[in-house]
Symmetry: C2
């Protein structure tokens, strides 16, 4: 997926691409998904709308790729040698301030997804599915190392545990998740459930 | 909480109260929270708006109490003698069809909560806090029975695990949670994390 996307955008430098994604996320934070227009992105980034559409296909794809791009560390690159090390490295991808900003962004998008099938499909294809596949790799390596039994019934629930911790923190405690909260959740819930 | 609410609504029979709550949830499903008006509730239930305001205080309170009322079995009544039994009884409060309907209702409300402080506070006071307190009772009984160690670090995360399972199911698997899914999550994640 990352290769395909890069090839398609070959005429844009990585710096320019990063600048553009940052502008998209700024606009998203300012006005929300529904009010974000390709016109506004074109103006703010001094690009032509034709270029934006040619390179990204449309608003849903551009927004989702921008969201994915800000996670500078891809899960696939995480391989510390222990499952606990891998999980804690993943949590450190974002500091508490970024996590707070991203909670708000994702909450806004979660609403839009329910009324916009094109956004839902971009969200799944360009963000959720690649992250789940990479998370699966991390788990499979832990099984191969003998850290987790291959028949542990919690294996299929790792994404639910992780995403659940993020979402439930906001619902129950009315604050965004912090690194300390998530680290404690990993050590107290996820690793014990996996028998680590 | 339940006692106070009942006293305040003493002139309404329980049957009438149940009928009224059912109508509120019907309208909520049809038009969503933002478009639900006290006028519509008054018309549909052949009540006066003055009665509705006197008995419930306003739209946020009425909607949240209606949501709580449909959970016919209160958590506080659950006491099977084992934590596993208690959790499975809680899951059986709603069949799969009700769970699907309720996922949609709660998703709609979760959006409204972020822009309506009065709804947020009704949601917490009349629904979330009482359920958390009752869940806490169930957990404390398990600790007193010796099923769970009092210093188990997962104890503080039980609500996050439970709510996370509900929410993440929709996000990751794009379907509402079912009893089978949640029962498996309880047995594979929550009980092992608690050392049961």
């Amino acid at each position: 997926m990352a290769e395909v996307a890069t090839a398609r955008r070959s005429r844009i430098t990585p710096e320019r691409e990063a600048e553009l994604y940052a502008a998209v996320l700024d606009i998203l934070r300012e006005v929300g998904y529904d009010a974000l227009t390709m016109d506004a992105v074109a103006t703010r980034t001094r690009s032509s709308k034709a270029t934006l559409y040619r390179q990204w296909g449309g608003k849903p794809q551009l927004v989702v790729v921008a969201l994915r791009h800000q996670k500078r560390l891809h899960l696939a690159e995480v391989d510390t040698g222990s499952l606990r090390g891998d999980f804690h490295t993943i949590l450190n991808r974002e500091d508490d301030c970024q996590m707070e900003q991203n909670s708000a962004l994702f909450r806004g998008l979660a609403m839009a997804v329910h009324t916009d099938p094109e956004l839902l499909s971009a969200f799944r294809e360009l963000l959720v599915d690649p992250e789940l596949a990479e998370l699966d790799l991390i788990i499979r390596r832990a099984v191969e190392r003998g850290e987790v039994r291959a028949d542990n019934p919690a294996l299929g629930f790792v994404p639910h545990m992780l995403i659940g911790a993020f979402v439930a923190r906001g619902l129950i405690d009315e604050r965004p998740p912090t690194q300390a909260f998530l680290a404690s959740y990993v050590d107290s819930v996820i690793l014990p459930a996996l028998g680590v």
